[in-house]
Amino acid sequence: MLKAVTLAAAGSVAAPYVISARAADTLVVSAYGGEYQDVFMKSVIEPFEKKFGVQVTYDESGGAAQTYAKIRAARGAPGFDVAAELTAPEAILGAREKMLELLSEQQVPNLRYVWAKSLAAIPPVGVVTYYQYMALLWNTKKIDKPTSWAAYWTPETLHKPEVKGHLLGHDPGTNLLEVYALIMAAKLKGGGVQDMSGAWAALQDQKPWLGAVLQMSAQAAPYFENDEVWLTPYWSGRSGYYVAKGYPLGFTIPQEGTIGLADVSAIPVGAANKKLAIEFLNFRLDPDVQRAFCLGYFASPARPDITDWPASFVETQITTQAKMDALDLPDSAVLSKQRNAWVMKWQEIMAG
């Protein structure tokens, strides 16, 4: 009895070390699930396994902040080698808290080909692997194509009363999308990140027109399926996916422009297989891998030197320097500082 208990105790104590002592040819990658996983497996993971003769374990994760929360909780050793889906605020926090590995162009040679904006957007603890932007998504059966963010933020001036209840909102506490949408609302009223007062006034007016407010973007799928949502800001990647799936939806960049989202891959400081993780980050920036992934996920590439994209892709994605210059990437350090206060203000208005 005592022997069994001792063995069990020893086993449970040793387990983390046994798990962390993974083979050098095994890489654990944490990334989104669902439709993203299918595209990621085919366009990135499988070619990587083939090229390097290694095995990749896919660790299905939640959003960027949840992934970073795991890294922080595990003091930089969360059990995965690559956090494939972080965003700029997590990269900045990771650099401050020293939870993410510092990377150089020497280690990741493909970094010399990325958009110049990518290098400025985050500290050198990650690689921007693709871009999305906040699109304005509309139901093509129900309303005309919107041309301005005002269609979403001041609906009473542009829509008939039957649109009431068919606008979709997002929780800024759980989805960066709403933070970006609020910034666009502030811009409409002459403000911006430094002056959000216009956004709060717009939110107050728009509130009665909202039919639902979601925590995560993925929760919107059933609302699109049953035509319940007619207008919402939405990430360009998923927007393209639903349009390609045949839903009666369209997505556009309104005349005021939009805000981009840099998707970042990074390596936790305590990763078990850093060498292979660095190879993986470099591989993700290879032109062929970029092309396959971006076409599959309706995302914009991380480098400007890939040409001959299909015309339909060029129309909706950031593929030229001019388009990249027009894309607003707000200062993530400012966003990180302000976000809690903005979330509280948003909650107060929505609860009122």
């Binding site: 208990v5 401050r96 209840g165 929780d171 976000r339 809690n340 909650q347």
Partner: protein
């Protein structure tokens, strides 16, 4: 003989030490970590080594957070009461019936436990949403012209949680009712007490431990529940659990999240202590 007793005693201590050690490592230590994180200052989402009560004052001074705390406690008390009110008659029938179908009836009463709480909660969402079955029925019957906005709402969160926790209440009450000697009820009735008086004077007092236990179980789970308030609630119906998730997992402000966790824990202990006290008073 003495040596054998000593050996047995050692084995008993060892057996007790394993769960005690487990609790120490996986409950007491995390609670201590939570307490320490709740009094750390947070600078731009990074906890720094500076003690402060600011996290608690922030949570207890803002109407938004105070409302969420009160709403959570209100949900907990209402769900606890509903579970007992709805569960008691059912548990009574299930324990007292002489039907040969009794095992099947018990299994049916507890069958909701077989489905995930997420599935059951989405079931309520299907019923209550704007284009859901309830609005559809009311519109078909001509009772309403435009769909009612039934979601998000605290009332539907209560319905969802009461439905999810009812089987636990039934189990607790059945255990208490099984412990009541039916002869005591018969004796009361033979002395002239009616069914209602027998229930009020004999059955209910003798099952008070089950009532308190069922209430506390439902209350404790309800105030800490995340999935049901997240799915059936919205920005205006935040609870402590949804706020904790938001602080910890998306805003990455662990100091505020920990402080809210401490308030949640303290609320649970306070209600536990009050209920136990009330139980003791009524027993004496």
């Amino acid at each position: 003989m003495t040596l054998s007793r000593a050996r047995n005693g050692g084995a008993v201590y060892l057996l007790a030490a394993i769960p005690a050690g487990f609790l120490l490592v996986f409950f007491v230590l995390p609670i201590l970590m939570l307490l320490s994180a709740s009094v750390l200052k947070s600078e731009d989402m990074v906890p720094v080594a500076q003690l402060t009560a600011e996290n608690f004052t922030t949570l207890l001074s803002h109407k938004l957070y105070l409302d969420a705390i009160l709403r959570t406690l209100g949900i907990g008390v209402t769900v606890g009461a509903l579970v007992i009110i709805l569960g008691y008659p059912l548990a009574y029938v299930l324990t007292r019936t002489r039907s040969r179908w009794q095992p099947l009836l018990v299994a049916l009463a507890l069958s909701p436990l077989l489905a995930s709480v997420i599935v059951r909660t989405y079931g309520w969402w299907v019923l209550f949403n704007r284009d859901g079955a309830i609005n559809g029925f009311l519109q078909t019957m001509g009772l309403i012209k435009a769909p009612l906005l039934l979601l998000p709402s605290t009332a539907v969160i209560i319905v969802g949680l009461a439905h999810a926790l009812l089987p636990y209440g039934i189990l607790t009450l059945m255990a208490a009712l099984n412990g009541v000697n039916p002869n005591l009820e018969r004796a009361a009735m033979s002395l002239g007490a009616g069914r209602l008086r027998t229930f009020a004077s004999v059955t209910l007092p003798l099952t008070s431990s089950g009532v308190i236990g069922g209430f506390l179980l439902a209350f404790g789970v309800a105030i800490g529940a995340y999935a049901t308030p997240a799915i059936l609630g919205g920005p205006g119906t935040q609870t402590m659990a949804t706020l904790i998730y938001s602080f910890m997992m998306t805003l990455l402000d662990w100091s505020l999240g920990s402080a809210m966790g401490v308030i949640l824990l303290a609320s649970s202990f306070a209600v536990l202590a009050l209920t136990m006290l009330a139980g003791r008073r009524s027993a004496s």
